[in-house]
Assembly symmetry: D2
Homo-oligomer: 348 residues x 4
């Protein structure tokens, strides 16, 4: 079978490196181009010594014409605002584009401009893009020319809430999302926030009331609900490398039980191979999804306060970014959805 | 000035060790007896090598008559149910007792029996006991013969909520407490939950809807509110040694601002030397309270969802246990409230 | 092609779980039996939730006759002393056995009895066993009926030293091995040594002058040298999950350079796909081998003191145990040595 | 009693912050000036929120005349090369100077220039300076106008070796020092080496054969030996915040025992209140010295290889920097050596 020819634009970051790790083992993929402005001329193994012996490939400058000519799909692992022109260029040349950045996630360019403080230069392209959460938009992803991959936090928060919102069992005004992320979510660039002695053996909330993933969560929950939903989202940084745990609570409109909730969620996700619903009384942990593409969800009902508790865990670099991208690619090219992703988390 | 003579019953656990650390540097205290069933005959420095050169004192079997005869106050650092008879015995003999366990925290013995699955054998003594959170009960602590120290989680959760509840600015039905605790909170006994490879680089919720600190939080918030309050409390274990961060959210009854909230909290805590209210836009971190008796609180108002966010941080072994005990002792014996506790957190 | 049918005896420990993780993705293997005394009746995914969706298989009681009848090879992941009778039983019934325990590593049963304080009940079988370090004994492994897998420390220490010993460039009396291991090396059973608050943000040497891997290192280095070698080995526990870094130093018999040393080592390991020699000036890190079967080695020469510095890194659960077992299995069954092991470390 | 008036030059770094933490609790000290180029105008509590409630003092620009006029002693917590002119200026104006930098540690300016790649502009002042390791140079420190504080690694390495070198029980050509440091030792400036996801759950050697603390160790050991000593020194970075563990090995000139070694070391350090020799079979851990000024040393003799193992642990920011500075200050001003430093490590 002809392999899917892949370009990774910006292969030197954590997401790019994870992409190479995943695709190097994917049976139906040929890595055709790895680009990096900063490290062009070096080998990918200079940047990721873990890959020595597995792959041997130079990092090159991006040439969109060459990419369009030689590849079937390009993954854009570049910062927001930088993805817009590259995506537009590649889509115009007819290849599929899967974008990690926030540039095409928000359907309303004004919302983008308000939260990202930058003009949106490709509003027309937004309409052609699909929000790449396969569990909600599998069929649209299949036909999409441009996939806007969800943020890592929204992936976990939306998956934890979608069934409850869909079936209308919660009060949409009383949704509280508390997420705790490992530090790799902050990316590869050192800062005093991510300096080891400032976060090891420590814990902090950040971007309280102002995190940019907020409108993305609202947009998708509103779309599922069929009416406007505003959730309170508070992210925290915890001393772990990978993973996001989201503890989501909401007031319920009627009594229920953990078992009922689990059934409801299993029904909703019956065709989603990467969502695992825990048995009642069992809750997700980062280590069970570390390095894997699974999102685990555990559910409880608190009789005292009549509230739903839905806890999700995923690996922010894998299901929250590179793994989700591979999952979308599998769908686009009619490969089995789990192809190249059939492995469990690394525990311990 | 005559020093306060102190006994620590159960000096070999984390709380007992912290107590020795604190009292060894307290200018008005004489350590008179350190008891330990498990390590009687050994020196305290065999159990806590960190204390070598600071103190040199044997661990002995508990003899309540000797303690009552030679000490002014006894700190009980023994598991719940074990504290009941010891406290009763010592109170009867006329010395002050400060109890770390849960045995006298809950005013209603039936609530105790329901959550702790054990009979309460000293219900009469509950009435004489005071809930040892000085920020709420300073004057009662001063006169108390028996102080029931709050749990570590309740200390942070209650301090984060008391002003909002007191001034009635939040909806008492929509209070959500998410707490994240370092692993020392689980005590000194190894278990698979606290085995390093099972929690390092990991994160989990636990005791979802069923943590024993829940009724304690409700009791104190209800007392502040003057009517029944039930809060949803979800604890998490994070890969850190010391500290609890509680992110508390609640629906507000009217619009406000972070600055207003900070003013309100500062007013409420104006006589509380160990509560530090952060400037608007600044939030607490574990490292700023590590090893200290402070509880830091940061406040925000989310206009989108009309919700209060109140985040507190404290050291579970210090302000959440041993430090709070010293603070209570200072109050009881008319010492300056900060005596022996005038130091900041260890950062990094 | 007919698949190799595999039994894992003691599948519930860290090594057993890693084995399942690796073999679930191995193209030429069929998992035929997973045994566990403690968890018989449960599913492997109850013990390792990370494997949900990947594998679905019950844990059963060990029945050696059934295993011998239905499997081509059995991996023994049971504690030392327990492996002896099981290995003897299975070897007698004619299937290949790969043993993780220390029971057959030491060629001299008296040395075993001295260091392990237990009688050796199968001395005859020792002679038939092969020390399963493929980089030193590939051809013997191929023909072995019983493979004694090396300890995790010896794997890293021996690989860091074998070329220098082989080519006689160091003084055999001045070999110093300092190894630092992640906590998973201590196994899955909680103890106060591995209780999170006792080792997080901490570091300690242990088993100083007395670690049981010492005679194993001596045995293999002596075998390479062709004369008796005694190395000083000091293990340390560090707050990481997986991985061992060994910093090995030795006085050199003549001047050299890092580049010469790298050449020498590359020559020695030219047929070893899992040993990666670093460029001069580059040194191994745990994260580059996390979850992989590689052993990375970096080399330096200190002109001031005329000493060799050889630093190796490996994943104690993978190359130090389960991965090495798969590597041996591949060799035994004439599969490509890298089959099922062709993936890089998980970074970050 | 008149208090010692102190200036801290460069109070915004980890060492400066620790200094403020220690001196805020010192009974005989008055903090007179805190300077910071970067944060002048801010309060010290803006940089170290942990100190809120303990101290309230502005950071100001350095004015050496004002410092000389109003202070008895200045601590210089500025990078190497920057300390030279400030020290010269302040010494000329007659106040005592305690310098954390490397500028005056090496007695031979050529050695300084070779290892630090910078000209030494104050060679005359080197002669007046004293190497501030009180355990070796207490009397010289007492009279010194300029104290050059030892590096953090040398403090632990030298203390672990001084008695063995002094009494001539080891072969000076076979000294191997392996040190493992927490990340705070790298200072406060973020870098990719200290970015959380690059060092958490990881471990690496660095500056192999080339660390700048090497000549400092050689200088002091040679001084103790009375002849030239060259030790092999290899530092490692470990995922901990504070602390250095040094595992030092050396070939012994004759047989001995752990008990003999402990006696020898206790004799050598009989007047050193901050060196704690462990009982035979017991070894130091970072957590026992975390936040304290102690250096713990554990000793073993390996009969198989005739080698000494001496393991030391200290807190790099306290005994390795700020605590040692306070200790020197106490000696200079005839205060009790332990004044302001009489507390144990923070465990857990």
């Amino acid at each position: 079978m002809k392999k899917v020819r892949v370009a990774i634009v910006g292969a030197n970051g954590y997401t790019g490196g994870e992409m190479v790790r995943l695709l190097a083992g994917h049976p139906s993929v040929e890595l055709a181009a790895l680009t990096s402005r900063q490290f062009a001329g070096k080998n990918i193994t200079d940047v990721f010594p873990a890959l020595r012996g597995i792959i041997d490939m130079p990092l090159i400058e991006l040439d969109t014409s060459a990419v369009a000519r030689t590849c079937d799909v390009a993954f854009l692992a570049v910062p927001h605002t930088q993805a817009m022109p590259i995506a537009a260029d590649l889509v115009k040349q007819g290849i599929r584009v899967v974008d990690y950045s926030a540039d095409f996630r928000l359907k309303d360019p004004e919302v983008y401009e308000k939260w990202y403080k930058a003009p949106h230069t490709e509003p027309a392209l937004i309409k052609k893009s699909v929000y790449g959460l396969p569990e909600l938009h599998r069929e649209e992803v299949r036909r999409a020319q441009l996939v806007a991959l969800p943020g890592c936090y929204p992936t976990g928060a939306i998956l934890a809430l979608a069934p409850a919102v869909k079936y209308g069992i919660i009060d949409f005004n009383e949704i509280v999302i508390n997420s705790m992320s490992g530090v790799s979510g902050a990316g590869q660039t050192p800062s005093s926030q991510t300096h080891f002695p400032e976060i090891a053996d420590n814990l902090r909330a950040y971007a309280v009331t102002s995190h940019r993933h907020t409108p993305e969560i609202d947009q998708e929950l509103s779309s599922v609900a069929g009416k406007e939903v505003h959730a309170l989202f508070t992210p925290h940084l915890v001393p772990a490398n990978r993973g996001i745990l989201s503890t989501v609570t909401a007031s319920m409109t009627s009594e229920t039980s953990a078992a009922n909730l689990a059934d409801l969620y299993r029904t909703y996700y019956k065709d989603a191979p990467f969502v695992r619903i825990c048995e009642p009384g069992v809750y997700p942990e980062l280590r069970f999804v570390r390095g894997s593409n699974y999102c685990d969800i555990g559910l409880a009902y608190d009789r005292r306060t009549r509230k739903l508790i839905s806890i999700s865990a995923l690996d922010n670099i894998c299901k929250g970014a590179a793994g989700q991208a591979v999952q979308c690619m599998n769908i686009i090219f009619d490969l089995p959805e789990q192809s190249g992703l059939r492995f469990g988390g690394l525990t311990p």
